[in-house]
């Protein structure tokens, strides 16, 4: 009987100890390990990835051009975004048969923060524009274009070709389209990505505007632009222009 009571007491003590107290996190020590190629490697991962790597390298390490100066992703304006907008603008006439007024790339659509000067591989262009986004033509009225440019201004500035504008209180001002002040009643040929044209990156004002889509990848526009520059005996470079600037 006594033994039973002892057993019960012991069980109960342990039971209540675990029931009435809880474990709470009181301290957190943090660290961030920089992962570098010179750290030891897990051999099984290296082996597992090898077949994928071989075939990726085979098609992606092909050199397609030479870049003169490094291109940076920057807001309100940066050379990397300018280059992408130029590529869209350049190919528009041939592809859509119209004279483009402006081309736009959403800032979030620039997928590298920097491209260093030197040889450019096919893979580098895939990393810059990994999405299978398509180039589309939208005919947009000046007043809606103003709303859209305001949207890009509020987002800190998106890459543009054919335009210069100032960002003032998160709005687009002093807008020049091919050197002429924006006319709210005029219709403009906007070269865009289907992603943004479909309302992506919160560009809802563009959603209702019809798109001409010929299945032309943005990435292919970049390849074609590099090929065209080469044909003119030029390396990859960006026309330095004041396009989007802060007040």
């Amino acid at each position: 009987m006594l033994l039973n009571r002892i057993r019960l007491a012991l069980f109960a003590t342990v039971f209540f100890a675990s029931c009435q107290t809880v474990q709470v996190p009181v301290k957190a020590d943090y660290a961030g390990y920089r992962i570098t190629d010179s750290l030891p490697k897990d051999a099984s991962l290296v082996a597992m990835m090898a077949p994928y790597r071989d075939s990726v390298d085979k098609s992606m390490n092909i050199v397609i051009g030479m870049l003169d100066k490094p291109l940076e992703k920057r807001q309100p304006q940066g050379a990397l975004g300018d280059f992408m907008a130029d590529a869209l603008y350049y190919n528009a006439k041939k592809k859509f048969g119209v004279e483009p007024d402006l081309a736009v790339v959403n800032y979030g659509g620039i997928r590298l923060t920097q491209v260093p000067a030197g040889l450019i591989t096919r893979g580098k262009v895939f990393e810059l524009m990994p999405f299978d986004n398509l180039v589309v033509l939208q005919q947009i009225k000046g007043d809606v274009l103003k709303q859209f440019l305001d949207h890009t201004a509020a987002a800190g500035g998106w890459p543009l070709a054919g335009v210069s504008m100032k960002i003032e209180n998160k709005k687009a001002t002093d807008i020049l389209i091919k050197g002429k002040p924006l006319d709210l009643d005029k219709t403009y040929n906007l070269i865009n990505s289907d992603y943004v044209a479909n309302g992506g990156d919160n560009a809802a004002m563009l959603k209702a505007i019809p798109q001409q889509n010929i299945g032309y990848l943005m990435r292919d526009a970049i390849f074609d632009y590099i090929i065209a520059l080469k044909a003119q005996g030029k390396n990859i470079s960006v026309t330095e222009q004041k396009r989007v600037y802060a007040q």
């Binding site: 009571r5 107290t21 474990q23 301290k27 020590d29 570098t36 010179s38 897990d42 509020a154």
Partner: protein
């Protein structure tokens, strides 16, 4: 309950033999060893299987799954209780994804022993069917998200709102929240997926985890750290939550110099951390636990965050 407690206390006193008290002390000693949990985490790895190439770019020679795998292996050998977590955007960003649609990424994470991940907006990029297929074929870890409803999509059976892990006598609840899809992800990619309010869903899920006596509740978040114009982000989300102790963030590619600590709606600490993108860094948090009496808990939780001295 009180009567029974009284009875037991009395019994214990009455039979307070030397043998018994020493047994109790021993049990208590064992119980008092501070419990530890090591959390390793990544976010926005974006198909970065290989290190950045040696081409003069800022990140040349950095990142890569083989080095990360070895480091995780090494930490697992040193620490008893380890969880490896990812906060989404596993996919998109290198030709690996253009060619293989996510297969090497998911295989590598499984091989590294990831315990859980959440769904980022770019994980939709090859379509829901491709995501579901890669998970089905190659994932040994669950996709955890409580504010996407994938009913009627190929992802329907490939995700769960939360998971409870048991590590060294601790119960750890992990839930996940994802970013608003409309206006971000093309509609043809997310299909019939329904986005639900992350605060409401996270609080509901965390309450479930608390009711199951989880000692630590972790939210994997792909909301982004900070956002303009009052949009949802970790800094907007965390103060509206309850029961969540830690947010492992992603989406905004933010390199936090140190984890941020904010107060939740009950004045308790929530730790937020995020480690940039591309697997340039592996984040680590070592949580130390203390035994507390349950009734003193409400509104009193504070977590001291400090830099780990030895790596």
């Amino acid at each position: 309950m009180l009567n029974r407690r009284g009875f037991i206390t009395q019994s214990a006193l009455a039979t307070g033999s030397l043998l018994l008290s020493s047994t109790i002390i021993k049990a208590a000693d064992l119980y008092d060893v501070p419990r530890r949990l090591t959390i390793l985490h990544t976010n926005d790895v974006h198909s970065r299987i290989d290190p950045f190439p040696m081409d003069g770019s800022r990140n040349q020679g950095l990142a890569g799954v083989a080095s990360r795998a070895q480091l995780i292996r090494q930490i697992r050998a040193q620490e008893e209780n380890v969880l490896v977590l990812d906060a989404g955007d596993i996919f998109q960003g290198t030709p690996y994804f253009n060619i293989y649609k996510g297969e090497p990424e998911i295989k590598a994470m499984s091989a590294m022993g990831y315990d859980a991940a959440t769904v980022g907006n770019h994980d939709f990029d090859a379509g829901l069917e491709a995501l579901a297929m890669q998970l089905e074929r190659h994932a040994s870890f669950p996709m955890i998200i409580c504010n996407y409803d994938f009913s009627g999509t190929p992802m329907e059976t490939k995700y769960q709102p939360y998971k409870i892990f048991r590590k060294g006598g601790l119960k750890i609840g992990v839930l996940g929240v994802g970013v608003e899809l409309q206006g971000l992800v093309p509609e043809n990619l997310y299909g019939a997926t329904k986005y639900l309010d992350p605060v409401q869903q996270a609080n509901r899920t965390a309450a479930t985890l608390k009711a199951q006596n989880c000692d630590l509740i972790i939210c994997l978040s792909h909301l982004g750290y900070r956002s303009s114009a009052n949009r949802m982000s970790d800094l907007v989300f965390a103060p509206q939550t309850e029961n969540i102790d830690l947010i492992i963030g992603g989406h905004s590619h933010t390199f936090l110099e140190k984890p941020e600590v904010v107060k939740n709606k009950n004045g308790e600490d929530v730790v937020i951390n995020q480690v940039g993108w591309a697997g340039l860094q592996l984040g680590r948090l070592d949580f130390i636990f203390e035994k507390r009496r349950r009734k003193t808990l409400v509104g009193s939780q504070a977590i001291v965050v400090s830099k780990k001295t030895e790596i």
